[in-house]
């Protein structure tokens, strides 16, 4: 790569030319934003440092793939449908970027991931984890939700959890637990089809240094 390429990459906010090794599919939400912006007659200043689709300031939208692993089921036995470490490598975030939105998306194979018997609910908890993959002791969950049915795609807003816009360092580790709650007694398999879990990704919107300077002015 010649000096011109390095200068151009730097002007695009990249320290080096990316060389993706196993690029995955482009999330539909990014295609939607991209195409909407292309059709905009004259994208004015307001769009430049704002992501209208999420109503937040920002000029960089990233989707991080989950690099975590399934964890051994803990207590109580039999009621836990899923326990997984979610691990996101955030080293791509540059110095000076300010986080304006964080959304976790859980995706399931089936259109609905439901408990085996009526009257039961599925409880979802998300904890901040140590890099080793264990919930930090005594910490209350970042997110706690109950569902009668889980849809194919479940967005969870983490913005409040990642406070004051500071990007959570070079990585983010969370433990996801889905368990069967409600009055269920001890049915045979409380979780219904537990192979419904498909994947997780983390969408971050940040305000890059240039936009931050422009907003400051």
């Amino acid at each position: 790569p010649g000096p011109q390429e390095r200068i151009l990459l730097r002007s695009l906010g990249l320290s080096a030319k990316p060389s993706p090794s196993s690029p995955g599919p482009v999330p539909p939400v990014l295609w939607r934003i991209f195409h909407k912006r292309r059709t905009l007659a004259r994208p004015g200043e307001p769009q430049s440092c704002r992501v209208e689709e999420f109503h937040v300031p920002g000029d960089i939208v990233r989707v991080f793939a989950d690099r975590g692993r399934f964890l051994p089921e803990g207590q109580p036995p039999g009621r836990l449908c899923l326990r997984k470490l979610l691990f996101f490598n955030l080293s791509a975030l540059e110095e000076g970027e300010r986080l304006t939105m964080a959304q976790l998306e859980l995706r399931f194979h089936h259109n609905s991931y439901q408990p085996a018997s009526p009257g039961q609910v599925l409880e979802l908890r998300l904890y901040r984890a140590s890099p080793g993959g264990l919930p930090r002791p005594g910490r209350s969950p970042l997110v706690e939700r109950s569902f009668v049915q889980l849809r194919k795609s479940l967005p969870l807003d983490l913005s409040a959890a990642l406070k004051d816009g500071a990007a959570p360092g070079s990585n983010l580790a969370l433990v996801l637990e889905i368990s069967a709650g409600g009055d269920g007694g001890t049915p045979r398999s409380p979780c219904g089809s537990s192979d419904a879990f498909a994947a997780t990704s983390l969408l971050l919107v940040t305000l890059g240094p240039r936009c931050r300077a422009a907003r400051g002015r």
Partner: protein
């Protein structure tokens, strides 16, 4: 009969000129998802005396063309530069295979002027 129309010669006056940037020409197609290229354009042409109104010029540029017409060696013509630009968004893979949608200001020349 009207005289034969003069051959279409590109106007020498300052205006946007076509420039297509193709990312595949610079070997970036493996990490840039979209667009694979875009019309960036550039400004080219003269800013002669008297400066026409549509050349989107400043009072200073009008004065400078006047001085240039009196003293071509001493004072240059004003420059033909972008006066209005638009942003584009680029969708790409970063080094960790994450998908990034990034918005870049001032990437397309919409309008030129004499400054």
């Amino acid at each position: 009969r009207s005289p034969p129309s003069p051959p279409l010669t590109p106007s020498p006056l300052c205006k946007p000129r076509r420039l297509y940037i193709s990312f595949s020409d610079v070997g970036w197609e493996n990490w840039i998802i979209a667009p694979q290229g875009y019309l960036a354009n550039y400004c080219g042409g003269d800013c002669p005396f008297p400066l026409a109104a549509e050349l989107n010029s400043t009072n200073h540029a009008v004065l400078q063309t006047m001085v240039h017409s009196l003293d071509p060696q001493g004072t240059p013509q004003p420059c033909c530069v972008p006066v209005r630009l638009s942003p584009i968004s680029i969708l790409y893979y970063d080094n960790s295979d994450n998908v990034v949608l990034r918005h870049y200001e001032d990437m397309v020349v919409d309008e030129c002027g004499c400054r």
